[in-house]
Symmetry: C2
Subunit: 656 residues, 2 copies
């Protein structure tokens, strides 16, 4: 013990001073103490932990060291981002916003009508939903480029979940009530997530899951549009692949060639315009204007050939006027409340995911920050207000935001311009949609959702991460063959299972010394790394938890067995010391501590020494609290593998 008697550390004193061996054995190798983290009370730890969980972005940092007056202004700006850019608003910005606002309005009107049909709601509800929510968002939202309105995924999910229980054709009033109630719960859920700062819940819908989910949903929706595109009258309300396909082929007698011709020509037109805009982003207005153009053209066509319109189904009468209040239609009792809540939560979480992701994407392009929790509150409040003014679930839509961004939107004023254009439409232009054929709405929907099938992303997942690809496929086939919530559930399950699998079966690696350095790296990966005789250096690449302590014990014993076999076969020095590199063991629980103790005892019986290298702060603390450190003693814990090897081999030399 002579060589490092000056390394004595009283672990319980919490003193963290540096002591260096006077007689360093390997030249230049100093032995450092492993420190405990600074002592904290349970309350302090809890406070810090909760701070990390709920306030990782330190949202109030702007308020620090400010005068009261400034704090008030900052608070106002914090709650209403409009006060941030409002004072600096100029005519130049207004001009950009008017152009982009009118551009998205020309997209929003046909989209609103189409998506409302997707949700099995009256088309007018889609227009209402493009009026009130954008106004509210422009006051509360922190994104400058988000185009707000109904989106395909949320519409489709709401339509599919509600219509499995209530028929929109037989009980339209009840269906409408349920839709508004679900919208209210979606908003409440979104706002609560933001208010309680639980925004990380939506992180569990990984990108891989969403790629699969959206592709599955797009396939289902496109197939459902065959009803409109083929002119079928009697169609299934189910959302699974098989009933929809069989419904298409069982009603071949209802197919109408006029509808098919009209539908396919406009579908080709829309897809071509979409293709052009994708190839040349500068021509974004081609795809933005195409839906409105199609609506106008097809309406005129139908109007001209009025005589034959009995073959082509049309939208028909739409009421003029502003959003009627609908607070009286919210019902918080009755047998369908559970359905409304469930639908609200699923559509709420999906629309939130799209809204936040879109907001973040465009914010990153323009290099400003979008506060996730604040966005959730904005979207939530806008849906709650929407549910009281005849709107259904809305959020930041990817297609509208992309058009908005490309058209040069500068602030949320573009949403106000869009809402104004919708207002004018609602007040004066509704009769113009009387002869608009339903088939054109189907074509618009198909064009919109086909963009959701991102096969390149799926291929990238396959190439980079097979388990992510599996999660993607699970949600794709789950949505296609089982149901929307099940598909999502399965995919989240697979994602969580992946995390658990990594913890349950962590990597363990044999490390070797890289010649001429104190660096230890994986033997299999670095050819210049070499074994140190009599030592076995193992790196554990995961926290040690109940879920893996049994595995790790078996695996470490197997490494030792294999090392002994190798030594026997190669006539090397016998194994004397096992060093566990704990750098990547970022946490430990009581089962993990038991494993460490158990392992030390087992190796002691076989007269091997067990040494821990570089335990992180929290692990060190728990080892201390459980008194495990005491059993390891002086030569049991080192700061680096290099120091451990140097010190222990010096000890062996001095005690032959």
């Amino acid at each position: 013990m002579g060589v490092n008697s000056n390394r004595v550390e009283d672990f319980s004193s919490q003193e963290t001073t540096l002591r260096i061996t006077t007689e360093s054995i390997v030249p230049g190798m100093e032995i450092h103490n492993v420190c405990l983290p600074p002592k904290k009370t349970t309350l302090q730890k809890l406070k810090q932990r909760l701070g990390e969980i709920f306030f990782p972005d330190d949202p109030l940092y702007r308020f620090k060291n400010q005068t009261w007056c400034k704090k008030l202004l900052l608070g106002l700006q914090f709650l209403f981002p409009i006060f941030q850019w409002g004072p600096e608003y100029s005519l130049r910005l207004l001009r950009s916003d008017i152009i982009s606002g009118l551009t998205i309005a020309s997209l929003a009107i046909p989209q609103g009508i189409s998506y409302a049909k997707l949700a099995n709601l009256p088309p007018i509800v889609g227009l209402y939903s493009s009026f009130v929510p954008p106004l509210i968002y422009s006051i509360l939202g922190s994104s400058r480029h988000l185009g707000v309105g109904p989106v395909s995924i949320a519409s489709l999910v709401m339509g599919s979940m509600l219509s499995e229980t209530v028929s929109p054709h037989d009980e339209p009033i009840l269906y409408l009530k349920l839709a508004f109630t679900a919208t209210f719960f979606a908003g409440l859920f979104q706002a609560s997530l933001g208010f309680l700062r639980l925004g990380f819940v939506i992180d569990f819908l990984s990108k891989a899951t969403l790629v699969g989910f959206m592709a599955g949903a797009a396939v289902i929706v496109s197939l459902q549009q065959l009803k409109g595109l083929l002119g079928i009258v009697h169609f299934t309300t189910k959302m699974q692949f098989i009933p929809v396909i069989s419904s298409v082929f069982n009603h071949r007698d209802e197919w109408s060639w006029q509808t098919i011709v009209l539908g396919i020509s406009f579908l080709v037109f829309l897809l071509t315009s979409r293709h052009i805009s994708m190839k040349r982003p500068k021509l974004f207005w081609v795809s933005a204007a195409a839906p409105l153009t199609s609506v106008i053209l097809s309406t005129i066509l139908v109007l001209c050939f009025k005589l034959k319109t009995h073959k082509i189904s049309i939208i028909g009468y739409l009421p003029k006027g502003l959003n009627p209040p609908s607070a009286n239609m919210l019902s918080f009792s009755g047998p369908d409340l559970a359905l409304a809540i469930k639908t609200g939560i699923v559509t709420g979480i999906l629309s939130l995911t799209e809204g936040i992701a879109v907001g973040r994407t465009f914010a990153a392009l323009k290099n400003y920050q979008v506060d996730g929790n604040k966005e959730m509150m904005a979207i939530g409040l806008m849906n709650m207000a929407g549910s009281c003014s005849s709107c259904y679930v809305t959020t930041g839509s990817f297609s509208r935001s992309a058009v908005n961004y490309n058209a040069g939107a500068q602030t949320a004023v573009s949403n106000i311009i869009m809402a104004t254009a919708v207002l004018v439409t609602l007040l004066f232009l509704m009769p113009l949609f009387y002869y608009t054929p339903n088939v054109i709405l189907g074509a618009i929907i198909v064009t919109a959702v086909i963009g959701l099938i991102d096969y390149q992303a799926a291929y990238r997942l396959w190439k980079v991460d097979k388990l992510d690809f599996l999660a993607c496929m699970c949600s794709f086939f789950g949505v296609l063959f089982i149901s929307v919530p099940s598909g999502l559930g399965i995919a989240v399950g697979v994602s969580v299972f992946k995390i658990l699998l990594h913890v349950t079966r962590p990597n363990t690696l044999i490390m070797g010394n890289i010649r001429g350095t104190n660096v230890y790296q994986c033997l299999g990966r670095y050819k210049e790394a070499s074994r140190i005789p009599s030592f076995l250096v193992l790196a554990i690449e995961s926290p040690i938890y109940f879920a893996n302590s049994t595995y790790l014990q078996e695996r470490i014993l197997r490494w030792i067995r294999e090392e002994e076999d190798w030594i026997k076969a190669n006539n090397e020095d016998t194994l004397k010391c096992v060093i566990l590199d704990m750098t990547a063991v970022t946490a430990i629980d009581t089962s993990g501590i038991d494993l460490v103790c158990e392992l030390r005892k087992m190796l002691e019986k076989r007269s091997f020494q067990l040494v821990l290298a570089n335990p992180v702060g929290s692990v060190m603390e728990k080892l201390h609290q459980s008194k495990t450190l005491d059993s390891f003693g002086l030569n049991g814990i080192y700061l680096t593998v290099g120091e451990a090897v140097a010190d222990i081999s010096a000890l062996w030399k001095s005690q032959p």
Copy 2:
């Protein structure tokens, strides 16, 4: 770029050679390449991964490089461990085994009768269950000290789950059928877990969960025994705290003082004997013999005061003879099949957990290995055989095994001796139990389960790991107030949530250089660590997944913001380079890769350089596959933080 132009690495060539800068800037500092792991095909990776998941212990290693003849023998020994110790069995071992076998038999007979009552089964079933399963285990099992038979937890859970649907008093035959069917499914489930090498499933019942669960179950069982101890006739069949307590006090008129006096005196006797054995392990026989002594004494007492026995309820007639076959009572259809399967799985998993844990504990004491998956098959097969011979769920019991071990058991022959003693009892001694009072069985059960309340373990959990303590409390109160499966489910949920929380909100630490070394450690923890001007070194302590990529982005940006504030306040050199120490980032998924790319772009816009230090093999591979490595280029990835700092600051000096 001049200084490290010889560090050029063609990442795509997969060549891993060491190149050292000729002009090292910091004396003695060589710059090493970061290598990709050796290239493997998807199939090879899958094979290795599956190998780690299902065969971490490499069970066939004994068979490697052996002759065919030897392989056959080893295979036989592998399947039937009796062939391992059988050939070396001696008279000396037999003597030890006879003593320990008879000792556990004296414990097993009263325990069997009592636990059967706990499961609401006829007392004779408990004795049957102490006969067939131990015989089968002695051939298949790999533990030498496991005492096999019914256990309190599994009995209690089976009793509570089945009697909530089927009354054991009104429909005794149906109840018995369900119990045997559940036992069959328990065995099937256990054997399948072992056969499919899914043994890690039981690891998810962490020790913390089990401490709470067993304490909760012990409280409930003890309260239920008040029925017997107070002599109450009409008692609830529910298992929750509140109905049991109210049942006790609502039937105060049924309390019988004779029963209470008898019960309390024997309870005191049993608890005292248990206390003595715990204080002095050498006197283990005191507590081992106490139950049988109590049974004999109380039976004699009741026999002597025969006249008053109508006040004390007795066991009554028990049939003589061996286990009758019960394969015809297994039913695999009908409305209660789901209940039987559920009960089988819950009792199967609980009894497996106890059996494996007990086997491992005693194996560790005698320094031999117990193969978890093989044990599962042994226990599973013994339960499947048991269900066809009128036995209910059995496993390795902690109390029996402890007595067995202390009595000097050497091999599984002690189980055969015990089974023989039970056989003799079944054949000849059953009438002796006629006058045994039920109250004594209650006292035996209470004594057994009180040992399950491990408040010291709970206190240790509280001290070492607050979240483990929370899981413990959840399972305790869940079992007490809701139900046994819900309590278990909640506790497993909390444990999994803990893992997810660690992943969702990982630690990030600012690192500083420890003076005079190349070691970088946490600034807050090591006072001798100091910042490097113009650099910010961040360590991320978790894999980067979809669940934390948003958090990590926010948190890293906040660190940078705070660092800049600090620099401004202290007039230090401006920040130029952010180094992420990836040592503890043991895995990455596609969302994580997106984060790294995104972060690099964001920092580039603010003209900071982003550098990764020491990415582990799998992370390096994914960065390569996703082409992210290319965007990092030459000065983007280093083997250690020290090399990164040295190389980049040298580059700055050479390019002023």
